[in-house]
Point group: C2
């Protein structure tokens, strides 16, 4: 294996294999990014969901995301709308106005044409709503290896960077910043989980899958300059807070009581044994804003679709070399919120 | 199925399913693009492998491609280098200088970490050689459904448009243009096919997988303005010629004798019953140039790596409402070259 001699930098052993946890947004994925991708790709902007392209001529955001939703249709959305929202949201979080999207389908032989049509129409509708243009695409068909043929979708996207005073990114988060979540959390994770477990909830828990560009636009036009924005997808709010705490070497403290969670989501999460903070969202984000801008930001979010339950859930309380996230519990004590480990919710985003 | 009432435009029936042919670059894929994607996505630039983004501020090319190589390692390359070359080449063909690339991995649980590392290093090397930057990425892990765990890769890319007098695209091809192929054809298809069939050729047939940006740059800097360029991947040279003949309503005539095919490729293709014109290439392209520029273009290609066997293989002989491609055979008669139908070489690009 001469190639290992050429790059003996990764910590993996010859017998190591990829596990579901490597794709679930938590600790294992962070290790894979840091120990393999970041070392091999010198220009990878591994701390961001979208890359910033900043030259004399171009100021763009560029992102990619592959989607594996099982089942492809779920209460509140489908893999098509999810694929549009995921990429649009990554572009918004980087501080850009999303413009152009690519769609690449990987289909298993035997996938029903009517389901593909339904997904294609859902993509068309979602892109219209998010005001982005599908300009290029690709289709590959692979041999069938599942009883029910599956679909995978990759979307990539380009946004035009907005003209911020301070670029929203982890290194610009500072002590005293307030932490806001844009709405109630955990819907997407529980919507998928309820369908996958055959639970017939009435009414069903609907996914929060939605584009975040209205909220991004609202904040920008009212001169709110978030210090950082990050959508809370795989690994949920817990992963986002830990990533930013580590990256900016800060101690973030949240107040459990203030985290908005719908009653049905909280109920199902309790039954299944999940902390809502680790559940995936596809239309919710965490933003860090200066103390004096927090109330205004909240007011703007409350007026946007999907932002009705936005809340200030905590603040950056100090510096911390390793990064630390803690929560004031409902009982008044303080507990650590860890980076999620292992496989949290497989194959749902 | 109310969504069908909303869009009763596709010609597909409720019982139709996706078949391997829908991904193989031939007639079925053209139909899927025309009848579903092009109708649902009003901004899709479905006649091009890369989209042109042309605004006051931005002149960019944008493309996406998913890669499914079985096996992932083959003589002359691997799925990693292939994924870089495929996207770089689509950007070059559109007339741009490739700059920024995204990489998205979809891995089956159990995929060996050392194989992933080997592929990651191959991507790093290929992107260095092609002078493009991997700036953003994504990893998803799916449950294992194959005896040997598989890998899928999507790459998307952005290039800066060059300042052409005439944009290289099908509608600018005109009667009298010469048709050039940049090198000997069919290597990639036969390299994969030989490995998949367990043929132990000595020496093996090596894939032609390579970046085309040196050739693209050479033509541009010596003031050759191709009327159109298209890399001959899925469906091979036959698919490219038919696509352009249809799109520009032209009759293209080639001379079979002049099509460069290496002896080992021709031999294996004959044994397996394939016409080299339909075999996939991953480092070869077809270009249409004005008669008076043809010899100069050829001279430039001959000096580039991979262009040693470039040849003028035919010309655009007239207009044709439906588009027509014919070949002068070795016996001197003329035969039609059809758009490939059905599944030509599954899962190789």
């Amino acid at each position: 294996m001469t190639y290992r001699l050429e790059c003996p930098v990764t910590g993996y052993q010859d017998t190591d294999v990829v596990m579901l946890a490597h794709g679930s947004g938590g600790e294992s994925m962070q290790k894979l990014i840091a120990e393999m991708y970041a070392k091999a790709f010198p220009y990878l902007q591994s701390e961001h969901d979208a890359a910033l392209i900043n030259t004399d001529r171009y100021q763009l955001a560029f992102t990619t995301d592959s989607f594996v939703a099982k089942p492809p249709f779920f209460p509140g959305g489908d893999i098509g709308s999810l694929a549009v929202h995921g990429t649009v949201n990554d572009l918004v979080m980087r501080g850009s106005l999303p413009h152009w999207i690519s769609v690449s389908f990987i289909l298993e032989e035997g996938f029903p044409m009517k389901d593909l049509e339904r997904i294609v129409l859902s993509i068309a509708e979602a892109s219209k709503k998010a005001i982005v243009r599908i300009v290029t695409g690709d289709t590959k068909v692979i041999e069938r290896s599942h009883e029910i043929p599956e679909i995978l979708i990759n979307t990539s996207g380009i946004g035009a960077m907005r003209d911020w005073k301070v670029l929203p990114e982890p290194k610009n988060v500072s002590v005293g910043n307030k932490v806001i979540v844009s709405g109630d959390i955990g819907r997407h994770g529980m919507a998928l989980m309820s369908v996958r477990n055959g639970l017939e909830l009435d009414p069903p828990i609907l996914s929060d899958s939605m584009p975040l560009n209205e909220m991004g636009r609202g904040l920008y036009y009212y001169n709110i300059n978030p210090n950082c924005m990050r959508d809370a997808t795989r690994g949920g709010v817990a992963a986002v807070l830990n990533e930013i705490a580590r990256s900016a070497k800060l101690h973030i403290r949240i107040d459990e009581e203030k985290v908005p969670v719908a009653d049905d989501v909280r109920g199902l999460a309790e039954i299944l044994g999940y902390d809502p903070l680790v559940l995936a969202n596809e239309g919710r984000f965490v933003l860090f804003v200066k103390d004096e801008e927090a109330e205004h930001a909240l007011e703007i979010l409350h007026k946007c679709e999907g932002g009705e339950h936005a809340a200030i859930i905590g603040e950056v309380v100090g510096k911390h070399e390793m990064g630390l996230v803690t929560a004031k519990t409902l009982l008044g004590s303080e507990k650590p919120i860890h980076m999620p480990t292992g496989e949290i919710l497989p194959r749902i985003c």
